[in-house]
């Protein structure tokens, strides 16, 4: 159904949040993507995307005050993936796997030479 499909960056960020389990906040997500995907995303883009995902119901958030010292007393907003979010990345993976599985092996050979 139209509207539940994820954008590429959205998918990346959902996966990162799932990976970071309880440690996912804006800066950590940016660094995670940079480290694991060798791709630099600006912090503002990350913030815009996570809030969009939260609005869509794929992420839940809570405040965490434990490390406020180096943040000028500001809390972290920790994100967790909701069951809808989990479903969305699973759907995305299935869609892709489905398409990957049906690529004729011939086209692979050509692509690899």
């Amino acid at each position: 159904m139209k509207g539940t499909n994820l954008g590429e960056l959205e998918e990346l960020i959902l996966l990162s949040v799932a990976n970071l389990a309880e440690q996912a906040y804006g800066l950590a997500i940016r660094d995670f993507i940079k480290e694991r995907c060798a791709r630099s995303v600006s912090i503002s883009t990350v913030h815009a995307t996570i809030h969009r995902l939260e609005d869509k119901g794929y992420l839940t958030s809570r405040y965490d005050n434990s490390s406020a010292a180096e943040r000028g007393g500001r809390p972290k907003l920790i994100f967790n993936i909701s069951s809808a979010g989990r479903e969305a990345i699973r759907v995305a993976r299935d869609q892709r796997n489905n398409l990957w599985n049906t690529i004729p092996s011939l086209s692979f050979n050509i692509a690899l030479t």
Binding site: Y25, G26, L27, S42, I43, S44, T45, H47, A48, H51, R52, A68, E70, R71, G72, R74, P75, K76, L77
Partner: protein
């Protein structure tokens, strides 16, 4: 803890949804603190960059924060009409813009250059606590400073508790054979692995501790590539060192280190173990019967560096070092009648302090860097002056536009905004284009200054940020006057067209023109002085004839071996038979090469003594070959002077020794190292190095055995390359193992002036830029004056003025302004030029020519620039101009 710029935080707070602000600001702050451990400036820059990213995401903004549509349309409107205004006046926009581009580009290049020169050796860890032991010698007649000290110093001062790490090294000279290739031009030093404790040069592969073992060497990455074609997998490979103190030996590559950066005062491509070198020196019979414990306190030539602990007093360490050194050196100093002391020179300051003796690289002078930085500001000032001049002049013709805007209800602030916006657009556009221009021209400029510094221009956040801040401030300042004066016009005057031909703003314009002319006259005058001094030095009579001279380098370290000597004399005999060669002389030193052999005369019978005299060994033909005039006594004869105790000195020596005339010095004794020498002849003074150095005492002994360092050949044709080839094949026949080095003497001499030539090239480049900007501004200004004075000239013509009268009238203003500028600029130019000239032992004297010529150049260029417009004005047909009203 540092915090990011307040303004951007406030900006962010105003825009972002307040529920999100805490989270986002917290993230940004955390990132900022992480970045600021490296560089505060970079962290600030990144913070601003990240924060401004939020402007893109409306979803994160306050609901009410979308800009109100009226304010938005004001900005849009101002922007659009600024662009239109700039486009409408293509010529003047072009002139302003071109001036700004050239100005910004030149200023950026200059600042980058001066910053690079000041960045020397600041990349080492704790660079502020690292010092070089710089030596000062003092005797009766002179004080000299030297970058090196005695071999024993490093170990002797180890007892000083404040010294954390220390190292020293020795420059050595040898050739390297790798398979069948021989390399000679390596910068070689001998040191221990502690060299890498004091200096931060990374080890790329291998073990640097191997450097403390015999037969292991360390080489730089580039050297590795030169030797083996690659720097990979070469640890353990063998090379042969030839002619190291007359020895040849095989060594293995123990470590490869990262190339020493260009902005370090050190140079080393190839590092040999110092401990092994000392063993070689002890075993070989180089130092006669001197005890080793004696030798270490007499062997000079080791640059020595220390790092002191945090918070330790530099002065205290200096005192302790001096007391140790004077304790050990006392007996020798007493014999030589000299004093010496050591001072701690911060390594960061070495490159920008005028050099002492034995520096590894030519130094720059902080005064010259300041001069260049000042020129950079001059150029910026000139570019902005242009911009102000043109925009005030143009403002008069825009009076009607202002009137119409006022009628339509625009207030003062909006009008000012309009003018400021135009100025800002021009400046930022100019800056962006200037950076682009530098990007393209970078390689050419690097060619002139011979420094690869543009690579890091775009990572130099500090410079970029401050330049951009300057551009913004400059554009506001240069837009301010037109903005304020124009918005203050009365509505009636503007609409009735009264202001179009008024002369408001003329005083300011005149002052600015004076500023421009003064800068220009100053620069041209200084440039003229620099050029004059350079050509004086290049064409000066050296007192020695170096025409058509080919110089061949022999091998001094092997000179004492008898096979070498017999081969050498056979080689000379063959050379004399070559058809293109007229004369030949062998010597230990030649004009153009610094004479490092300098000894003190010793006291006899308690008399005053202790004069440092350069010593050199020559053959009989030397004075004839170089046309050095004998003014008293006789020259050498191989029959009489074979024992080496007869001496010929230059006139300077006899003066320093206190003889009233050269004749009185004849037959007088001079004692070197306990051996009495007798003066048999005196030669006229000549310049061993360039004329920038004063003549120093120098003495000659007849000694063909040790004179094998250099062979000078006088060729019959001025083109030496054909003869050089014949000489080379002959050389290779006699000395198959030694590399051949042949150079044209004039080039050897020219190398003395490399620093000066670089200075002159940079200075000319900058002055020409300044002149170009000034002329550009003048073009823009005169074209406005034409349009403003059209009516005046027409009326004068109607009333019967001649062309000549008009011509004088139109040029009078510039002449007066030039004269005023001349009065302002010349005293400054005189003071600075004579200060600069004082650096040279022999220099030109400043005469009226140095001031009149620049004035004539400036007036002529002003005249030529305005000529076209003046003629256009004089030729105007009064009928067409006057009938308009």
């Amino acid at each position: 803890m540092k915090s990011p710029p307040r303004w951007i935080v406030r900006w962010l707070e105003k825009r972002l949804d307040h529920r999100l602000f805490d989270e986002i600001y917290g993230d940004l702050l955390e990132d900022f603190h992480r970045n600021s451990t490296k560089s505060h400036l970079k962290a600030n820059w990144l913070f601003v960059l990240s924060a401004s990213g939020y402007v893109r995401y409306q979803g994160l903004h306050k609901i009410s924060s979308t800009p109100n549509s009226n304010a938005m349309s004001l900005w849009q409107n101002t922007f659009v009409s600024s662009i239109r205004n700039l486009k409408r006046n293509k010529l003047h926009t072009g002139i302003s813009l071109l001036g700004l581009i050239i100005g910004f580009a030149a200023a950026t290049a200059i600042f980058q250059y001066t910053l690079f020169e000041r960045s020397y050796d600041s990349f080492h860890r704790n660079a502020d606590r690292k010092y070089r032991l710089t030596h000062t010698f003092e005797n009766a007649t002179s004080i000299t400073e030297n970058a090196t000290t005695y071999l024993a110093v490093k170990e002797a001062i180890a007892e000083v508790p404040e010294i954390r790490t220390s190292t020293h090294f020795l420059n050595i000279d040898a050739s390297i054979r790798v398979d069948d290739n021989i390399f000679t031009n390596q910068d070689m030093i001998a040191t221990n692995s502690d060299f890498f404790d004091v200096f931060d040069f990374n080890i790329l592969s291998g073990q640097i501790d191997d450097l403390n073992k015999p037969n292991f060497v360390a080489i730089s990455e580039t050297t590795a590539t030169t030797f083996f074609g690659s720097s990979q997998d070469i640890i353990g490979k063998q090379v042969e060192i030839q002619n190291l103190f007359g020895l040849s030996l095989n060594v293995s590559i123990g470590a490869i280190y990262q190339d020493i950066p260009e902005n370090s005062h050190l140079r080393a491509d190839f590092i040999f173990p110092l401990s092994q070198l000392l063993t070689i020196a002890r075993n070989g019979n180089f130092f006669g019967n001197i005890q080793y414990s004696d030798l270490v306190w007499r062997w000079f030539g080791y640059p020595t560096y220390i790092e002191i602990g945090e918070g330790d007093s530099k002065d205290l360490v200096e005192q302790k070092i001096n007391s140790i050194i004077s304790r050990f050196r006392e007996p020798y100093n007493a014999a030589l009648n000299q004093k010496h002391s050591v001072w701690l020179q911060p390594i960061k300051a070495i490159h920008i302090t005028p050099g002492v003796q034995s520096e590894l690289k030519p130094n720059n002078d902080v005064a010259i860097l300041q001069l260049f930085a000042a020129i950079g500001f001059f150029i910026l000032l000139l570019a902005w002056t242009n911009h102000i001049n043109i925009s005030t002049a143009r403002a008069m013709t825009r009076a009607k536009e202002v009137g119409v805007r006022k009628v339509l209800g625009s207030d003062k602030r909006q009008l000012q905004l309009q003018f400021l916006m135009e100025s800002l657009l021009l400046n930022t556009g100019g800056f962006a284009l200037a950076i682009g221009l530098l990007f393209i021209l970078g390689p050419y400029i690097e060619g002139v200054v011979a420094i690869p510094f543009f690579g890091n221009l775009y990572q130099n956040y500090g410079l970029m940020t401050s330049l951009f801040a300057m551009v913004v401030v400059g554009s506001i300042l240069s837009g301010l006057y037109p903005a304020i004066s124009l918005s203050n016009f009365s509505l009636q005057d503007t609409l009735r067209g009264k202001l179009k031909h008024s002369r408001r703003g003329t005083t300011l314009r005149r002052i600015l023109v004076i500023v421009q002319f003064s800068c220009t006259i100053f620069l041209v005058s200084a440039l003229f002085t620099v050029q004059h001094q350079m050509s004086f030095m290049l064409s000066a009579d050296l007192g020695a004839n170096i025409d058509r001279t080919l110089l061949i380098t022999g091998h001094s370290s092997a000179a004492s071996s008898s096979t070498y000597r017999s081969r050498m004399s056979a080689f000379q005999n063959e050379l004399k038979l070559l058809p293109g060669i007229e004369e030949l002389s062998i010597s230990s030193i030649v004009p153009g090469i610094r004479n490092g052999f300098r000894v003190s005369t010793e006291a006899r019978n308690g008399e005053e003594a202790g004069l440092f005299v350069h010593r050199s060994s020559i053959d009989e033909e030397y004075f004839d070959f170089y046309d050095i005039e004998l003014i008293a006594g006789r020259s050498f004869h191989s029959g009489q002077d074979i024992d080496g105790t007869t001496l010929i000195v230059n006139k300077k020596t006899t003066e320093e020794l206190g003889f009233e005339s050269p004749e009185l010095a004849l037959q007088q004794p001079v004692i070197f190292a306990g051996i009495e020498h007798k003066i048999i002849g005196v030669v006229e003074d000549f310049y061993q190095l360039g004329v920038q150095q004063a003549v120093e005492p120098i003495s000659f002994t007849l000694d063909t055995a040790y004179a094998g360092n250099y062979i000078s050949l006088r060729t019959s044709a001025s083109n030496t390359s054909a003869i050089e080839q014949q000489v080379q094949s002959l050389f290779e026949h006699f000395f198959p193992d030694s590399p051949f080095t042949g150079r044209v003497m004039e080039n050897v001499f020219m190398d003395q002036y490399n620093g000066e030539e670089q200075f002159r090239d940079l200075f000319s480049m900058f002055s020409i830029v300044a002149l170009a900007i000034a002329i550009l501004g003048l073009v823009g200004l005169s074209s406005y004056i034409v349009s403003q004075r059209m009516k005046e000239v027409s009326v004068r013509k109607v009333l019967g003025a001649h062309d000549l009268q008009l011509f004088v009238l139109l040029n009078r203003e510039y002449l007066v302004l030039s004269a005023i500028s001349f009065v302002i600029a010349i005293p400054a130019a005189t003071i600075l030029s004579s200060q600069w000239l004082d650096n040279y032992a022999n220099h030109i004297t400043l005469g009226p020519l140095h001031f009149v010529v620049p004035l004539i150049i400036v007036i002529t260029s002003v005249f030529l620039t305005t000529l076209g417009y003046t003629i256009k004005l004089i030729r105007v047909n009064p009928a067409t101009v006057l009938k308009q009203e």
